[in-house]
């Protein structure tokens, strides 16, 4: 093999890709934030925003090393902990430091995806502890298995940009989270409506934009493979969106906007593992096929007792599974230069893909469950019913998404002991119980 050298074009594209993928997390904040009630809008968005910090730091300090340093078949070593030895020397054709940052953006969005299952009820401090530890204990090992030279990589499991590592993993954790933390108090008792559907459409659009970095960046170079992944990332979700809209029209006679946003995300999820392995016509078929299981799972889930509030399992779990399995069906050596799938006579690939899916589900499920139980011993995972009724924006963050300022009394920081209270009349009324 040639001595690795830096390629400026590749480096430029990966710099841009890293920024694109980082944008997906605030995009997810809008996607999820629009789907909840207004009293929980900030809390839901903060669950994504916080991941940028907490998972970002955990990744730099330890996660990257656990995922990508040389180690066993199941976990990377500690050679690169605290970013030791991660410098400007080439990893492939780009600086290793940039590779670390690019992979970090994946860890961040994966942890944030889990939040969709537990919105409107989880204690924020417990959530922060959860995503930080989860990115180290669950995400990093699975990333190592598939991309860090672990056992799934050695078996030849294909996961171009994270169908198993990101989406099946996040969806399994989301399922466990919804079960362990339990339903919202209003679930199946009241209609819980999205408070801002335009936010959700904005989020879906920005996710699609960022996803070009997610998938085409996973080529780790500015080359033909990146172009293939890029185009597939455009075509497959388009197919999903069309089928989703038609299913909506057939079922209710109305093409819904929330449905369109969901269809786009399902298509993006499904093409993720396949993006650089299959041709564009296959991508279109894959995108269209992926709409069906997710669509009907969404309709069915709402009638069950599982309060996976924003349907992470239906969208990411099923979308990711369909994508991972169909990668084994449609993979084409003519396009990717390495491996064929079932349709080109390599039936074994489908089996390898299935092993990858199952391994992710089993490990993520068990490890996430144990992690929640341990955190639950220290911090209650759920807010109390009163705070849930009031809304988590006020109870967890001390802010409101849509405060109009009426009735807001400025609390002055006293500089002198005899400074007057802000509004004595109101304060006195409050002291008497405020009754007229």
């Amino acid at each position: 093999m040639d001595q690795p050298t830096l390629v400026p074009a590749d480096t430029a594209w990966m710099l841009a890709s890293t920024a694109l993928v980082l944008l997906m997390t605030p995009a997810l904040a809008f996607f999820y934030g629009g789907l909840v009630r207004s009293k929980n809008a900030l809390n839901t968005m903060m669950m994504s925003v916080a991941a940028l910090g907490f998972v970002g730091v955990a990744w730099a300090l330890l996660g990257y090393s656990l995922a990508f340093a040389e180690g066993s078949a199941f976990l990377g070593g500690l050679q690169n902990a605290l970013l030791r030895g991660v410098g400007l020397a080439p990893q492939g054709t780009i600086p290793q430091l940039l590779f670390m940052a690019y992979q970090g953006t994946f860890a961040i969005i994966t942890a944030a995806l889990v939040s969709g299952a537990i919105v409107e009820r989880m204690r924020f401090s417990a959530y922060l502890v959860f995503i930080t530890l989860w990115s180290l204990v669950v995400y990093a090992p699975i990333a190592h298995w598939v991309w860090g030279g672990g056992f799934l990589a050695k078996m030849g499991a294909l996961d171009f940009a994270g169908g198993t590592v990101v989406h099946i993993n996040a969806a399994t954790a989301a399922f466990v989270a919804a079960v362990v933390i339990g339903q919202r108090k209003d679930y199946a008792r009241q209609a819980i409506l999205p408070h801002n559907v335009p936010f959700t459409l904005l989020g879906a659009g920005l996710l699609w934009f960022g996803w070009f970095g997610f998938n085409a960046g996973s080529a780790l170079a500015a080359n033909g493979l990146a172009a293939l992944a890029f185009v597939n990332t455009m075509i497959a979700p388009a197919g999903t969106l069309v089928v989703w809209t038609v299913l909506d029209l057939v079922r209710s006679g109305k093409a819904t906007a929330v449905g369109a946003a969901t269809g786009i995300v399902v298509g993006l999820v499904a093409i993720t593992p396949a993006a650089g392995f299959i041709g564009p016509r296959a991508a279109l078929v894959l995108g269209m096929v992926a709409a069906f299981p997710s669509y009907y799972a969404l309709v069915y889930r709402a009638r069950t007792r599982l309060d996976d509030s924003l349907d992470v399992v239906a969208a990411h779990g099923l979308g990711g599974t369909v994508g991972a399995l169909l990668t084994g069906v449609f993979a084409s050596k003519a396009w990717n230069g390495t491996v064929d799938g079932l349709l080109r006579g390599n039936g074994g690939q489908l089996g390898i893909q299935a092993v990858g899916v199952l391994a992710s589900i089993v490990y993520s499920g068990v490890a996430t469950y144990v992690l929640f139980k341990v955190i639950g011993l220290v911090i209650p995972l759920k807010v109390d019913r009163r705070d849930e009724g009031l809304g988590l924006d006020v109870s967890q963050h001390g802010e409101e998404a849509y405060a109009d300022g009426e009735g807001a009394i400025l609390i002055l920081q006293r500089t002198e002991a005899d400074a007057p209270a802000a509004v004595p009349a109101l304060a006195a009324a409050a002291a008497e119980g405020g009754r007229s």
Partner: protein
Amino acid sequence: MKLVVAIVRPERANEILEALFRADVQGVTLSRVQGHGGETEKVETYRGTTVKMELEEKVRFDIGVSDHFVEPTVKAILGAARTGDVGDGKIFVLPVEKIYRIRTGEEDRAAVTPVQVVAAGKA
């Protein structure tokens, strides 16, 4: 004839509506209001500014009823609106001088008797 005015928590509004419908109270006007009661104030912080929110979001029900409907109406609201914490709200029962149904010009008790009941009576 009375006007029942109830100021309640927004998150209880759906339960109250359901309880009212169960009690056969069907004519309801609902508005979002803000008010100050005895509840502990919320403290919010925006950058360096800390504020006390003296006004709470509430929902106001206005229900015009004939006399024998006052008790079921009040009971329905009391049952559905109560959480036991300060800030559950108030119910006011006010005397009403006159009621007109705009569509038919019916007055007073006839004006607050739901249409379905009249139709059923004719059948």
